[in-house]
């Protein structure tokens, strides 16, 4: 009996990792081919935006799905990353890489600072403090006209070319080139996030989500681990902000507003917070619905809201979460093995 049950499990693990590897490969292939499939600048741009939003939602899910911390202020990284990119490339030096590094680094520092206060709290108090911090930053961006342009925002954010000076350079002005650049950055960062999520550190975050007290009693300082998760989430969010800045070419304090934070939470829950790629799936869905529904009515949020209500009632694991659960129940595969879900 014992032998057969562990055998069956290792079989499931094997097929599980094969199917998920297959799924990821298929997804990546789809992303690479997307510009050829849509053949339309408008949709290439939509795909670009979806990629950036995917990174943003996955970064938030480090807190929500992995560590069990519901942050209502994640737009702060979208905004601060975007402003950092804009300020550096416009005022200091027009370099894509320097701009992105500025976006990530500024958000790492900001997350560190905010995290020191936030990680001491849990539940609603944590959520409220993240919201409060983000609104403070919003207010600063709104009123500090000299630097941020106030409510006018900033215009003319460049798409600096990339390459090796003197050797070769690639212009990112074309929609397709820019799409591939974003795909490269986003895929690399999501891969990094995935590595972290499946490391011992990532499993500690899940343990904190499940039972922070017991984590203390296996000898780990929970606050410090929460702080690291907070900084990782913020830094990844900052890169998304930098990409968004150069993608749009203009930014405004609206990026930092709390409704924007709410939207990132929606993406995460829509796609499924207990599955690694779920939030990316949710980001794609939300933006796709926005674009299609906006064509015939202004109130696209009603549609999103309606879907969300149905999801919470009938598929609480989110859409991708549901399909993954379904796949692991039927014999074609499972999740990646040890990550047991109820």
């Amino acid at each position: 009996m014992e032998g057969s049950s562990s055998n069956k499990f290792s079989l499931r693990r094997l097929t599980g990792s094969v199917t998920s590897r297959f799924g990821v490969t298929a997804l990546l292939a789809l992303a690479v081919l997307a510009p050829f499939l849509v053949q339309n600048d408008y949709y290439i741009q939509l795909c670009t935006e979806i990629l950036i939003a995917s990174l943003l939602a996955i970064s938030l899910n480090f807190l929500i799905g992995y560590t069990g911390l519901v942050s209502l202020g994640h737009a702060v990284y979208l905004g601060v990353g975007a402003y950092a990119f804009a300020l550096l490339t416009k005022n200091v030096y027009p370099s894509m890489w320097a701009g992105l590094i500025a976006a990530g680094a500024s958000c790492a520092i900001l997350a560190w600072f905010m995290g020191v206060f936030c990680v001491r709290l849990a539940g609603l108090y944590f959520a409220m403090l993240t919201l409060a911090f983000s609104q403070v930053v919003y207010t600063v961006a709104y009123y500090w006209r000299d630097v941020t342009g106030g409510d006018d925002g900033m215009l003319g954010i460049p798409k600096p070319e990339i390459g090796i000076p003197g050797a070769f350079s690639i212009s990112l002005e074309s929609f397709t080139n820019f799409y591939y650049f974003v795909l490269f950055i986003v895929a690399a960062l999501i891969f990094l996030a995935w590595k972290i999520a499946n490391s011992p550190f990532g499993r500690v975050l899940q343990a904190i989500r499940e039972n922070p007290e017991r984590v203390e009693f296996i000898g780990l300082p929970v606050h410090r681990y929460k702080l690291y998760a907070f900084i990782i989430a913020g830094t990844l969010g900052g890169f998304a902000g930098g990409l968004y800045s150069t993608f749009q070419g203009y930014i405004s304090p609206d990026l930092l507003y709390w409704t924007q934070s709410g939207e990132i939470v929606l993406m995460t829950i829509l796609g499924g917070m207990y599955s690694f790629l779920g939030p990316a799936f949710g980001a794609g869905m939300l933006l796709f619905i926005r674009d299609t529904v906006l064509n015939f009515m202004e109130y696209w949020r009603i549609v999103v809201g309606g879907i969300l209500v149905l999801l919470v009632l009938f598929l609480p694991g989110g859409i991708l979460g549901f399909f993954e659960g379904w796949a692991s129940r039927s014999s074609i595969g499972g999740n990646d093995g040890d990550d047991a879900r109820s």
């Binding site: 562990s6 011992p200 499993r203 500690v204 343990a207 296996i218 300082p221 929970v222 047991a340 109820s342």
Partner: protein, 250 residues
Amino acid sequence: MATTPVLETRSLTRSFGSLLAVNGVDFRVPQGELCAVIGPNGAGKTTFFNLISGRLEPTSGGVFFEGEDITGFPPHAVVKKGVGRSFQITNIFPRLSVLDNVRIAVLARRGKTLDMFSPIEKHTEEQAEALVILGEVELEHKAHHPTTELGHGERRNLELGITLALEPRLILLDEPTAGMSIEETSSTIALVKKISADKTVVFTEHDMSVVFSIADRISVLHQGSIIAEGTPDEIRNDDLVRLAYLGEEV
């Protein structure tokens, strides 16, 4: 008196409002002893463990581990010193696998939990060690199952396994057999006995036949104070204890 006790508390006191849950407890456990703390419901046993393990701060008094003052240390620091505990109310990681529940504790003890870039499965030594511990608590065959598939007794054993994975020099077990069937109780008690061969163990337990059969020494807690201490024989014949607690049970 020559050797320092593994655990010592000095006038340890904790009040909740006007209630003195633990009241001036002086308690010493020498190296290698298997010591039972008994007392009726609400006597203060769990509170006493909470004070030692850092879950609660004492109102007054001190806690010393291997001679070092650890009073007021946060739980994770107490664990790092070498004190592990299990909980009366099962305190595990529900949506992790059985293996991960123990593996995470092994990784924590070995200082691997800040590793962010290698897959957890690549830590084969820690995985093997976790499986050995799961074998000890008879859960090896369920290693890859979610804890939601475990029965009550199995969850109690997992609780114990997480604590053992920390390889503490002093182990506090708060009613390890709470709610277990008779068979589960006897195998868990056999395990506790086995652990105590090379570790110092303090445990609470409501089943008096178990306590009297395995403990080296028994301390009786009553309304927050220790009213008697001694070998099982001494406790069995103590009039005060009979009056306050044991009644007809012994």
